[in-house]
Amino acid sequence: MSIKDYESVIGLEVHVELKTEHKLFCECLTAFGAPPNTQVCPVCLAMPGTLPALNRQVVEFAVKAGLAAHCAIEPWSRFDRKNYFYPDLPKAYQITQNFFPICTGGYIDVPSEDGSKRIRINRIHIEEDAGKLVHLGAEGSLVDCNRCGVPLIEIVSEPDIRTGEEAVAYLRKLRAIARYTGISDGKMNEGSLRCDVNLSLRKKGEETLGTRVELKNINSFSFVAKAIESEFKRQAAILDEGGTIIQETRRFDESTGQTYSMREKAEAADYRYFPDTDLVPVEISQAEIDRIRASIPRLADERKAGYMEQYGLTDYEAERLTADKELSDFFERAVAESSEPKTLVNLILADVAPLYTEDISEDLLNPKSLGQLADLLAAGGINSNTGRRVLKALLEEDLDPAAYIEKHDLGQINDPEKLEGAVRTALAENERAVRDYLGGKESAMRSLIGRVMKETGGRANPVLAEDMIRKALENQ
């Protein structure tokens, strides 16, 4: 057997921290990065007698996620207690929805080699986050309870994913949903999007599932792909040698790119789930669901189709523009200021999109200025080299592209008289290229044009330059 004979069967459990102002069951703030234990109260510290009071906005956010992921919204769902001891969990139970989640069924379509693949969603439920431990080594550990009780939704997929790439594509789609609906920042590095991977192997063509391993502690998209690949290889090697896979939880170590065993199934906790009667079941009417549905802004797929139709973009271009809500919003603001959407999209995809990492939440440059720049480019007022230079300047500070070009004398030289000197120099100092060209070597023209560009600081209109060179050589 070789590694090619196996396939991974992968399901993801994704936790999305919701961006509500207040916590799930108390009025503490949820802002990220506050000094330790400054966003706490008797309720989230689990002091005796305190009671949870449901923040209804969380229900609304969970329903938004459910609708965006094509789930059924359950008119009746319930909170349960998941009992376990850990210092970051003051109540010693997490309030979650084990038996009756708020959203069931659903799917997300992700781009794949064959165009598109459907990943089914099993459920989405609401639960509260735990705090954070800060380990001081020999001095012990400290507990920061700021995050205790921050609302989360957990999105559980069916085991429909086969590769790390699909897993990442699925995660990107979830993040896009989180951002488009405004329910979360979806930042893996800050922990507002977290992902556990359930992975098993089987021989291609088989239907039965292998022994499942859970991977934890993965905190970037690229690590998700790496962890899956590394675990796939590990399991394939074991199976190849006739070994068996142990059902266990493994931790991904970013520094080595390997997974390491955390605990085996036999050590797995019994969480003793049962209903939390401090809360009443969550009931949602169809009218409320309809109201929430109406409040959801246009999502990625809808925008993508619109861009393709309205601006004549390719599937690839539209997909890239809509993969990130902030980028898509930026494009929409810029395109409103431009009459050259194609040029604008080229500019954005080449030089702006790569800057949109997951931390960007504001425009990186003034969209209006970029729109104007696209128009200048398309009209031939500047060439693409200059375009990049101006864009760089726009990223530094907000300025008027036309004025900047004027001030720095960056406009394209379209006047033959102004190019004459440069053409003469190019011909005089490139005798060999001239000989080659005259000898029938058409490619020599490129180096001659290049020389004209160099002489003009990249401002020469290359078409005009070529024209003038040809004419000059014809006369020789």
Binding site: P48, T50, R81, P90, A92, Y273, F274
Partner: protein, 489 residues
């Protein structure tokens, strides 16, 4: 001033008319406490200084001619599982011996708004788990009518304090009978209101679906007056609905022609102490004589209540107790050297035997292996019990039963040793708990040994007014129970 013979409304009038001051009243109660407390042991914490300050404040307000709420200036006390900001709230547990909450329970906030005088915090079974207040980590509480006997529990301090005159009213909590049973054993009136009538916020959870707060008082009208003060809707307790009427007014309404049911077959069983049976039968005759219709009822789920109660309350209690782990607050084993030892050491040393037993029982009932056969089954049977009582209260207005099968039993013994069946002391208090329905314990008289005997009146959801009306009719005809010192003298 013999405040033990007075109704709270009379005391409120006296204060208003300045016949006596709140300071005089408070000092009278303090001197009673000094006299009785060494034997009775009702309190965990006394707040004498605060009490006198508050009494002076109220006297000041009265002398400014202010109109104050009915409980203003009246000395009362709270069970020590009700959070009082700045005053330690121990739950009678080593685990919480030094815990001073930074917040007030909603009911305490309401009583502060009433300008009551807080005398202190009352002894109880540890974390309200027990029947006799003997599981308190601190000390015993003794029955004021017989110091060799239990006061009942878990609100034993709340009942004993009222009976001994160490407070004019108290609050207790009731999960499976923890207000009604000690009230009955100590000869005071105790009300477990409909689930949700009184906010649970700030009251230590034992079993969230069963816990209720309620008043313990000398008289029925006192009880209604206190319930009026604490039955206010709390928006942060999702179950809270607030009071449905003025209970003091309801207690004074015409008796009318209510239908009162009684569990005939149980009355004839050998489980019931003969003196208790005699009082209950007299009560039935009394009600019949003043216009009630008395009908026997058959309670099919009665015997199921006990196991259902223990499974559900222990399961919820297990989960509620796990937060006492030595990490965030409360007792931490000073010898612990790692996390595991913080947990095991703090819990082993900080919690008592009864609490540990319930944790183990709940842990078992909720385990993956046993969930279906225990917790889930109990939850389903609970639904059947709820349905049965819905049906029962479709045909009768109130149910008259014993509270306990026997009067108070000697300290250090089990109730069954006093003659009742093994579980019969719990049998009748559990159904109202499991169904969330209101039930009131009313003293009927004294046994030949001078021990209080009581009965339970229970009814449908929000029937507190009716229960007070029935109880007041009995009390008006028979008078208050004599205070312990009058019996023992």
């Amino acid at each position: 001033m013999d405040y033990q013979k007075m109704q709270l409304t009379e005391i409120a009038d006296g204060l208003k008319r300045k016949e006596f001051s709140s300071r005089e009243l408070t000092q009278a109660v303090l001197s009673k406490i000094r006299d009785k407390e060494p034997q009775v042991g009702a309190y965990v914490t006394l707040t004498e200084e605060l009490a006198l300050e508050q009494a002076d404040r109220v006297d000041g307000l009265f002398s400014e001619g202010r109109t104050l709420p009915p409980l203003a200036g009246i000395p009362g006390a709270l069970k020590d599982n009700i959070a009082t900001r700045g005053i330690r709230t121990t739950n009678a547990s080593r685990m919480m011996e030094n815990f001073v909450p930074p917040y007030d329970a909603f009911v305490w906030r309401l009583l502060r708004q009433q300008e009551m005088v807080l005398m202190g915090k009352l002894n109880m079974d540890e974390f309200a788990m027990g029947h006799s207040t003997e599981t308190s980590a601190f000390h015993l509480t003794r029955n004021p009518y017989d110091l060799t006997r239990v006061p009942g529990g878990s609100s034993g301090g709340s009942a004993a304090a009222v009976a001994a005159g160490e407070a004019l009213f108290t609050l207790g909590t009731d999960t499976g009978g923890s207000i009604r049973q000690p009230a009955s054993l100590c000869g005071v009136v105790g009300m477990r209101p409909t689930y949700g009538l009184v906010s649970r916020r700030g009251v230590t959870s034992f079993s969230s679906s069963l816990d209720q707060v309620g008043p313990l008082t000398r008289s029925v009208r006192d009880n209604a007056l206190v319930l009026d003060a604490i039955s206010v809707r709390d928006r942060k307790d999702v179950h809270s609905v607030g009071g449905q009427e003025s209970y003091l007014a309801a207690a004074g309404q015409d008796f009318g022609r209510p239908v009162i049911g009684w569990p005939e077959s149980y009355f004839q069983s050998g489980d019931l102490n003969p003196q208790v049976r005699e009082y209950l039968e007299k009560a039935l005759h009394f009600y019949e004589s003043i216009g009630a219709r008395i009908v026997p009822v058959d309670l099919k789920t009665l015997d199921a209540s006990l196991s259902v109660y223990y499974i559900i309350s222990s399961a919820e209690g297990f989960s509620a107790m796990n937060r006492y782990d030595g990490v965030h607050y409360g007792y931490r084993d000073p010898e612990a050297e790692n996390l595991e030892e913080v947990y095991t050491g703090s819990r082993s040393k900080g919690l008592g035997r009864e609490v540990k037993q319930r944790i183990l029982l709940g842990s078992f009932a909720l385990s993956e292996e046993h969930y279906r056969d225990y917790y889930l089954k109990a939850a389903r049977v609970r639904t059947l019990i709820i349905e049965e009582y819905k049906e029962v209260f479709g045909t009768i207005d109130a149910l008259l039963t014993p509270v306990t099968a026997t009067p108070a039993w000697p300290l250090g013994t089990l109730p069954q040793e006093a003659g009742g069946g093994k579980y019969s002391n719990d049998r009748f208090t559990l159904p109202p708990s499991l169904t969330g329905l209101p039930a009131l314990a009313l003293p009927l008289g004294l046994s030949s040994d001078g021990l209080p005997v009581g009965m339970q009146l229970s009814g449908d959801r929000f029937s507190e007014g009716l229960l007070y009306r029935l109880a007041a009719a009995y009390e008006d005809a028979h008078g208050l129970l004599p205070a312990p010192q009058e019996v023992n003298a």
